[in-house]
């Protein structure tokens, strides 16, 4: 950011971008950036969708952190004489086929998905940003080569690609994080590449080249801060998809292993009982996934709206 002030003197103004600060003084730019961030935050906090989404997200984060302490029963505690019991005063969400309290499993089951999905998305965003920067900055052969590889992989549905990787590597938390991260990196790289393609033609990049800065410096110090907006939006959007992907892989049996409470795995284990009328064993974990995904999407839409203003 330190060189941005000098470069900004020759950059056409763009009101919402840090590089478009009206004056050349570094201090003024810093103040402007802070002001913009404050404005963004203010706009977000005024947004009802952000508030609702954030509250739901916060609720699940609290459950993930303090799940064992706040759940009414141990999520693994079995009562083989009280299996498939419907919702009641003792068990608000009923019990499952092993007599475990469904509410407790839903509360504690938020942990894995809220660990795996954000870390995987973060990994994917970092990798995707790096690949997108390289593609967009260098262009030409590098862009073509990496682009074709990305397109080849993305020709298959994301879940199928992830599924194949997980089958090959064996299911584990780290495998899930790496697989989802890598697959999402390919998606995110395309967005970042597009943004970088626009940026690299701007004068501040040309100025950096004239100063004989290294390509790594130009990509990660000059360009990256100016494409952070789309990257942040990508992160929030992909987080919702990551939650779905984790839940889907768990549903297919490639997530965490039983008896660990997990929403996707619990839906898979209990879905067979739907026809028998034991709806609560499937419905509540499904609602939990839906509420988390909707919450993340509400937050992501709000951020995107603010960033794109």
């Amino acid at each position: 950011m330190s060189r941005m002030g000098a470069e900004a003197l020759t950059v056409p103004p763009a009101p919402s971008s840090p590089k478009a600060a009206p004056e050349g003084a570094a201090g003024a730019i810093d103040v402007s950036a802070k002001r913009i961030r404050r404005e963004h935050l203010g706009q977000l906090l005024k947004s009802w969708s952000f508030r609702i989404g954030g509250a739901v997200l916060l609720f699940w984060i609290v459950c993930a952190i303090f799940g064992q302490a706040i759940s009414p029963y141990g999520p693994l505690d079995q009562n083989l004489l009280l299996v498939n019991a419907g919702p009641s005063g003792a068990h608000w969400f009923g019990t499952d086929s092993l007599g475990r309290d469904v509410l407790s499993r839903v509360i504690v089951g938020s942990r894995d998905i809220l660990v795996i999905a954000p870390i995987a998305t973060l990994l994917g965003t970092a990798l995707g940003a790096a690949v997108g920067l390289v593609q967009g900055y260098f262009g030409g052969v590098v862009d073509n080569l990496v682009g074709r590889v990305v397109e080849a992989v993305l020709a298959l549905p994301v879940i199928i690609v992830a599924f194949l990787f997980v089958v090959a590597a064996g299911p584990s938390t780290s495998t899930l994080i790496i697989v989802i991260g890598v697959v999402f990196a390919l998606l995110i790289s395309r967005t970042v590449r597009t943004a970088v393609l626009q940026e690299r033609e701007l004068d501040y990049v040309a100025a950096a080249r004239l100063r004989d800065e290294s390509s790594v410096h130009i990509m990660f110090v000059e360009i990256l801060p100016n494409v952070l907006g789309p990257i942040v939006v990508e992160f929030t959007v992909r987080l919702g998809y990551a939650i779905f992907t984790v839940a889907t892989l768990s549903f297919l049996g490639f997530g965490v292993q039983p008896p660990t409470p997990d929403w996707g795995a619990d839906i898979a284990a209990n879905s067979g009982y739907l026809a028998a009328g034991y709806w609560w064993e499937t419905l509540f974990p499904a609602l939990a996934i839906a509420s988390l995904v909707v919450a993340v999407n509400l937050v992501s839409d709000s951020i995107e709206a603010v960033v794109n203003q």
Partner: protein, 578 residues
């Protein structure tokens, strides 16, 4: 002594007349009845196994006891093999699990495939739901004194569904092909080590004899529908063509067959006996049980071959006819006897003592199962001794903790545990893990897809056979021989003995006892050996047998005559709708 034999009135003169001319083995069965060592039910079962015909059995029971016993024998005589007279005609729609490969009697090994085969082809002997043997393509049979030679009289006048007559040569060819160790026959899992092609001998135009390589008191089971590959085909028949002509002697012919979709069966006009009740049977194949259950609930099919409590508990709620057959179907929880800490039998016992078996049967099977006692002797086997002579193992956490200490791991230990994604198995595995936690044993469970779990099904290349703790599924058998051999006898790579010994159990006492048991012909001898085996396995606990669950089939309320067997057959020739 069985209680129902007390006070029996014996007509010795008639009994002696009926004994005359019987072989030593058959005479021994009669002696066992008279001595009170066999109940009437077991006498019928053992008697049919050893070749006593139903009329002779009925006569013996009449000479031996009350009219009630004689009526039992008459009920046996009116077996399922005789199609019931009323309501001939109509169409039955049935759901089967989709055959996983081509329909070939030589290689077929899945439930849907064998069920189709069992309605088109026939076997030498029929074993019913109560494990009683009845003549089918063989009219009678007998074994020599040490059960190394079994001789069968073959029914005359039988025709294949193409109109050609069935002969002894066809029987000999079918068996020689199915027991050829150089071939690819799935039936080798039954015949291996017992019957070789040169042992299948045509005695005359109506008789075939099987000369076994070792004594086998339970060989008769190998010629029944339990050995589902063993239908009789014409001499020289190319099994690879089976899907083109579906040759067989059974009550149905195949009008059409679409792999993965279904088949239409029609009544066989050439059938040698009473013809099938339904004029047509429409079979629909389903990839999974839940879809088939939905079809039954929707009224799209009249009956379905099998369901599990784990997947289709709603079928037990009263809206359907449920056929529940007690069976020897079970799961085996192996612990590696060669790896610490399972090298100690006390540690293995400790794990077994953590399980609340009646509660497991309640939770997983809604009562459609019987508790196990850590041996493969299921309650359904007549040879099983069980409680009180062999004490039933019950949950006892205090004892389990003491045993753990005695085994050298008083504070518990960590161990991996692998199983397969099949029916209730993941749920049972979780119960085991949670139960063991109560004594400080930390079990890390992995549930795998079935093909990954089995791997190559050989030591070193199979999670099933190599895991420290491993839970695997075993289908029902009419005799416990397979359960006693492959998973429990010491491993011998040269002979193939102990090829499924995931526990690496290696006990010379057990090897001797199990081999003696398999060779035994006499039920009282089998029971004596069974008791010793049960006690030995209860003490050593190489494998936990927590339950034996029932075989369940379902039909619509207006459907009658559907006849499944616990070994996976689904006979539809008597099926009718009201």
């Amino acid at each position: 002594m069985s209680s129902d034999n007390r006070g029996a009135q014996i007509d010795h003169a008639r009994l002696d007349a009926l004994r005359r001319g019987r072989g030593a083995v058959q005479e021994h069965v009669i002696d066992e009845l008279v001595a009170g060592n066999l109940s009437r039910r077991d006498f019928i079962r053992r008697g049919t196994m050893m070749g006593l015909s139903i009329p002779v059995l009925g006569g013996i029971l009449e000479a031996y006891s009350s009219p009630a016993a004689a009526s039992t024998s008459r009920r046996v005589a009116s077996s399922v093999l005789r199609a019931s007279a009323p309501r001939q005609g109509g169409t039955i729609t049935a759901g089967l699990l989709a055959p996983t490969g081509s329909i070939n009697p030589l290689t077929i090994n899945d439930e849907g495939g064998l069920e189709l085969l069992g309605n088109v082809g026939e076997f030498l002997v029929f074993i019913d739901q109560q494990n009683r043997y009845h003549p089918w393509l063989a009219t009678s049979w007998s074994a020599n004194a040490n059960a190394t030679v079994w001789t069968f009289k073959i029914r005359q006048g039988v025709k294949f569904n193409n109109g050609a007559p069935m002969t002894v040569d066809d029987v000999v060819y079918s068996f020689k092909t199915q027991c050829n160790p150089k071939g690819v026959a799935n039936a080798l899992s039954v015949f291996g080590g017992t019957l070789l092609p040169e042992g299948v001998v045509k005695v005359d135009d109506t008789t075939v004899a099987f000369h076994l390589t070792q004594a086998d008191g339970g060989f008769l089971d190998a010629v029944t529908e339990d050995n589902y590959n063993m239908i009789i085909v014409p001499n020289g028949y190319d099994y690879a063509n089976y899907e083109k002509d579906f040759i067989g002697t059974g009550r149905f012919i195949v009008k059409s067959y679409t792999p993965g979709v279904g088949a239409v069966l029609a009544r066989n006009p050439h059938y040698w006996g009473t013809k099938a009740v339904p004029a047509e049977v429409q079979l629909t194949f389903y990839a999974e049980e839940s879809a088939m259950t939905s079809a039954l609930e929707a009224g799209s099919i009249d009956c379905m071959d099998q369901f599990s409590v784990a997947v289709s508990p709603q079928l037990l709620t009263g809206g359907f006819n449920v056929i529940s057959l007690k069976a020897s179907t079970h799961r085996e929880l192996s612990m590696r006897n060669d790896l610490h800490p399972f090298t100690s039998k006390y540690v293995r016992q400790a794990i077994a003592y953590t399980l609340d078996r009646p509660a497991i049967v309640h939770a997983l099977f809604k009562g459609q199962a019987q508790v196990g006692n850590d041996s493969p002797f299921a309650p359904v086997f007549p040879q099983t001794v069980g409680p009180p002579a062999v004490p039933q193992r019950k949950k006892d956490l205090a004892l389990a903790k003491k045993l753990l200490a005695k085994g050298g791991v008083p504070r518990g230990f960590k161990t991996p545990f692998v199983t397969e994604q099949v029916q209730e198995m993941p749920a049972f595995a979780q119960i085991v893990a949670q139960s063991a936690k109560a004594i400080g044993v930390d079990i890390a469970l992995t549930v795998e897809a079935q093909n990954k779990y089995y791997g190559s099904a050989v030591f070193g290349k199979s999670d099933w056979l190599d895991g420290e703790m491993s839970l695997v599924d075993y289908g029902a058998r009419s005799v416990p021989n397979v359960f006693l051999e492959a998973p429990l006898q010491s491993i011998n790579a040269k002979t193939g003995q102990g090829s499924w010994n995931a526990a690496r159990f290696n006990d010379p006492r057990y090897n001797t006892l199990s081999k003696q048991y398999i060779a035994a012909v006499d039920l009282s001898v089998q029971r004596r050996l069974a008791k010793q085996i049960e006690l030995l396995l209860l003490d050593e606990t190489p494998i936990i047998y927590a339950y034996f669950y029932n075989y369940l089939s379902a039909t619509q309320k207006n459907v009658k005559g559907v006849y499944p067997t616990a070994q996976g057959q689904f006979f539809l020739w008597n099926a009718s709708k009201s």
